[in-house]
Structures are given as C-alpha cells and as structure tokens.
C-alpha cells in the first residue's frame, strides 16, 4: 500500500536529506555550547549520527521497500506494532510543532510588533500546500534550494575570509568533558537524530537497494558542510558565539566590504526560510502519511488540514518565553529524542534479528 502514490529517486532522496539536515542548524550553530571546541562537538555528533544511520539502514536493509509502520507491524505484530507506530507519530507531530515555533520565533525577534500568529500561520499554510502536493514536489524543491544555498554559502565564505581568525578555535579541549559531551549529544540529536523521520518514506523510493548508500552520502556531505560552517562561524566570532542567540546570523552581520557588501544577514534569514521549510514540511508530511497509513485511509490529503490545525495548536502550547526553546534545544531534546532516534529503532532491529523477519539477504548489502 503506497499512500504517497508518488515515488522519488535515490538522488532526490540525497538532496532532500541534505536540505533536511542543514535545515535549522544554519541559524543555531551546532555545538555552540562547546565554545571554541564547537567543531569537535560537530565531528563527534556526526559520528554518532552515522551510528544512528547504521541502525536505520539495518532495518531498511532487512525489510527493503517497507517503511517504519510496516516494519513495526512485521516485527512486533499488529497490535504492539501499531501502538509503537502511534508513539512515533505523536513524536513527529510534536517535533513539527516545535520546528514551526522555532521558525516563527526567529522572525519575531526582529519584527517585534507583528503578532506571532502571522509567523505561525503563513508558513503552515504554505507547508500544508506542499504536503498536499506530495513528496515529489518537496524533493524537487529541495533540489533547487540545495543548489542555491550551497552557492550562497560559498559566497559568504569568501566575503568572510577577511574576518577569519583561526586562533579563535583554540584552546583545544579546555572545557569540562561533560560539557563537550552535552554539546556532542545536542548535535547528534539535532539534526542527525531527526533522520529517523526518513524511515516513514522508505517505501516511496524507486530503487530500495540504493536507499542506504544515498542516505550515507547525504549524511557525510551534510556533516562536512556543518563542520566547515561551524569552523567558519567560530573563527569569525570567537567567544562572541557563546553569548549570541543566533551565532551564524551575528557572523554575517560583521561583513563589511567597502560599505557596499554589508547587511548580508538577510541572506541567512532567507536561507533559513527556504531550508526550514523543507524540514518542517517533511516532518508534517511524514506525520500525515503515517496517520493515514495506520488508519488505512484511501488518501492522505483529507488529513493535511486537520493535522495542520492540531500542529498549530500544539506549537502555540509549547512555551511562551523564548528561553524554553533554547533550553529545549540544548538540554531536553538531546535526551528525550534519543528514545526515538536510538533506543526504539535499535530495539526494533534487535527483535527483527531474533525473529528473522523480512528479507535476510538484503542485510549484508545495506547494513
């Protein structure tokens, strides 16, 4: 049963995943809590991300062409499997609400007198339109955005060259190890742990045997990019990044080339708008698709608006002081997301291995 009734190629999966992984991390510098060692946190976090991906690939390799919900059914039986799938979907709904709110809060910092509802409803409206149009549209959009964004960032790198001071990356390892681990974990959780949402899409990919390889490629590419990005921002801002709410935003604010190339931070705001849209829409899409699949609906489109409305309500109910968004991203999400990013998939994989469900040959090729 393919509710999405649209399939994407492995190549499109690559772009979709890269865009997804860069999504919110371009504004919230990953690993910023580790100060001058942020790059180390990103490196370790990316390694952890590869561990996550190995688990997901193990699951997909054993059940080629199936998605998370079907795998859960196969591995845990119809009752327990469905219950587990609902838990996942509630988590996806919650994360999409969170993304929406973070997105809105970023723009509300500058436009203080615009009501928050405007920043919530406008992207949600566009997003619901994208979700109705289906995965292929999102994938094609991400292809365009990805190319544009990479070009823009290369441009930024060149413009910031004058401001780079690599001594800002020193001292090496002077923070307590617990702090570094927390920063690592927060990078691993956001964005790498969120890749778990792609498990809902694995039945929509043309060539299931390629899925694992392309996901690995996307993860590798994004982690290298995020690493460079972190090094650049830390080298420009130094310790300023530790007090800044949006470090990457502040880094671009210092560009001033002959009083002509200034105020380039707006570029980042647009990039965030474009990338965050993919990430939010993908979570939204996966929630809707999963629910429709669980309820055995003919089509997922009637669910788009009701779930969108629910999403809006949840995102309003998340918090009213912005500090909780920061607390959540830096101390809470890294822990509770582990349940969904690591423990549950790992448990599923172990049980699947014991019960020998699915196709055992695909195992060696993709794991």
């Amino acid at each position: 049963m393919k509710l999405g009734n649209q399939t994407i190629s492995s190549n499109q999966l690559f772009y979709l995943m890269c865009t997804f992984l860069l999504g919110s991390s371009v504004v919230f510098l990953p690993g910023v809590r580790a100060g001058s060692n942020a790059w180390l946190a990103v490196l370790l976090g990316a390694l952890e991300g590869f561990v996550f991906l190995a688990i997901y690939n193990g699951l997909v390799g054993q059940h080629p062409g199936k998605n998370l919900i079907e795998i859960n059914d196969l591995v845990f039986g119809p009752f327990l499997g469905k219950a587990l799938s609902w838990v996942y979907l509630i988590y996806f709904l919650y994360v999409s609400a969170q993304l929406l709110r973070t997105f809105a809060a970023f723009f509300a910092i500058i436009m203080t007198s615009t009501p928050l509802m405007v920043f919530l409803i406008t992207p949600l409206f566009v997003s619901s339109f994208a979700v109705r149009s289906g995965l292929e549209v999102l994938a094609k959009y991400s292809q365009i955005v990805f190319t544009t964004v990479i070009t823009l960032f290369c441009f930024d790198f060149v413009l910031l060259a004058k401001e780079l001071d690599l001594s800002n990356l020193l001292p090496f390892m002077d923070i307590p190890i617990s702090k570094l681990l927390l920063a690592t974990q927060s990078v691993a959780a956001l964005p790498f742990g969120e890749v778990v949402v792609f498990l809902v899409l694995t039945n929509l990919i043309h060539n299931p045997s390629d899925t694992g390889r392309f996901m690995k490629k996307a993860l590798l590419f994004s982690s290298i990019f995020l690493l460079l990005y972190t090094v650049r921002t830390t080298a420009v801002l130094g310790t300023y990044s530790t007090i800044s709410t949006y470090p990457a935003f502040s880094a671009l604010r210092v560009i001033n080339i002959g009083e002509v190339f200034t105020r380039l931070e707006i570029v980042l705001a647009i990039v965030f708008l474009a990338l965050g849209f993919v990430k939010g829409s993908l979570f939204y899409y996966c929630t809707v698709l999963g629910v429709a699949q669980l309820l055995k609906m003919r089509s997922y489109t009637p669910l788009v608006l009701p779930i969108g409305a629910l999403l809006l309500n949840i995102s309003i109910l998340l918090f009213d002081e912005y500090i909780f968004d920061i607390i959540d991203a830096s101390m809470l999400f890294p822990f509770y997301s582990l349940v969904f990013a690591l423990f549950l998939p790992l448990l599923t994989l172990i049980v699947a291995k014991i019960r020998k469900t699915g196709n055992q040959q695909g195992d060696s090729a993709n794991a």
């Binding site: 429709a292 003919r298 089509s299 918090f319």
Partner: protein, 75 residues
Amino acid sequence: MLNVLLVVMAYTLICLYEVPGLIREKSWRDFASFTAFLLPALILSIILAAGVKLPLITPAIYKAFTPLLTWLGII
C-alpha cells in the same frame, strides 16, 4: 469573542474545502479520520482563542527533566 468567531470561521472553511469531496466519493473511513483529527483541534483552538490559559508543554518537560539534569550537573 471575535477570536472564537474567527477560529470557527476558519474551521468551517476547512470543512467546506474537504467534506464535499469525501461525501461524493463515499470515503466514510477517510471522513471519520478527518473528523477525528479536526474536532480535537477545533476544541483546542476555541479554548485558546477564548483566552484560557492551558499548561505549556516545554516547561512541563523541563520540570520533569530537572532531576536528571541536576544529577548530570548541567543545571
């Protein structure tokens, strides 16, 4: 009250957009799921629009995690 009215209007629009098609195609299962998700959302929205203060999610999670975070020495 104006807010509540706006909310009801928005939800009516959603219904007008989706329901006729569902009834025409007689997809009752889809219609049931649609209602099952729209109704709670509507109730929640009306409560919020009426200005009722509901407990917030992230602060609650923070409270729940405080012992763990204190034990780990993060806060």
